[in-house]
Amino acid sequence: MILLELFIGFLKVGCFAFGGAYGAIPLIRDVVLSYGWLDDEMLTYMIAVSESTPGPIMVNLATYVGSSRAGLAGSLVATLAVVLPSFVIILLVTALLKTVLKNPYVQAVLRGLKPCMIGIILATGVSMMLRNGLVIQDGRVLIRPLLLTLLLGTVYFGSRKLQKSGISPILLICLSAAAGIAAYGL
């Protein structure tokens, strides 16, 4: 049943998404692609939409996937599922188990888990860059995706050299949309 699947799928995401907004993206990809809820293209687009609309990215993605699979009920179930683990965990930590996070065994588990998460996010970023930037068709590398990648990468990381904070993610998404229209539409 789709509602139950959505609930379990996003409960998993909520339970394992360490490292904030981007920590959840590899997990959401995992879950969403393995259930076949969205294809890779739509999911990537949705990440951009979640980044450009207010609110936590993880919650936005859950709402969207739930809604596209099963309407209002689906979006409610998916959103509830992604929020529930952190809600419960924080209640437990503040109410009962203040010391649990200082427990050396819990610390030991977290010491392994967090670097692993970073590696997973890094791999997700690298493989997305390769897949979208280095498109090979008929034995030739397509020039437009490659140029767009170099351009946007230079602008984003280069802006940080000139100015401490660099350009914001939302600005990058707007620029990339304009660059895409210029490269493919004109």
């Binding site: 909520g14 907004a21 996070l101 030991a108 993610p169 990058l172």
Partner: protein, 191 residues
Amino acid sequence: MNILLDLFLSFAKIGLFTFGGGYAMIALIENTCVEKKRWISHDEMMNITVVAESTPGPIAINCATFVGYKQRGFAGALAATIGIVLPSFCIIFAISRFLDHFLEISWIAHAFQGIKIAVGILILDAALKMLGKMQKKALPRAFMLSAFFAMLLISSLSLRISSIVLMLTAGLISLVIFIAGKPAAKGGAGK
């Protein structure tokens, strides 16, 4: 004003006006809850940020739940958490109703060719920032690199291994290393 309503409205405002999630929200939560409303102290805010980083889930949700609980127990936690989720829920729900048709328009499809590259850059950037904050020691590096290559292998071979399995394995290995290394450490360093 009723404290529950106040919690709900304050967090709804934070949920409505912070783009980009995560750390952008922390700044606004601190501004509202510590400086304006004085619901929690600055130290408590620091503590909860640390706790939020060690527990799963969106950091903003963790903070909202904590502040709500401090004010009015379970009901407060519920009011604050619903408050922070509700605005984006409504916005995304509305967008999702017509997004599919959006992509059929050609210039939007072109824009998407650029956007999907930007998303890759943002994810890479987030990972690099976390990498910069990671402890520069052999063990975390080993975990990070093995997870990185395992994940690349999994995705390039289209294996059906969840990243959750990777994380649990890493947590377990780290626990085993800790337990095995304990007797060798200075005596009495236990609990």
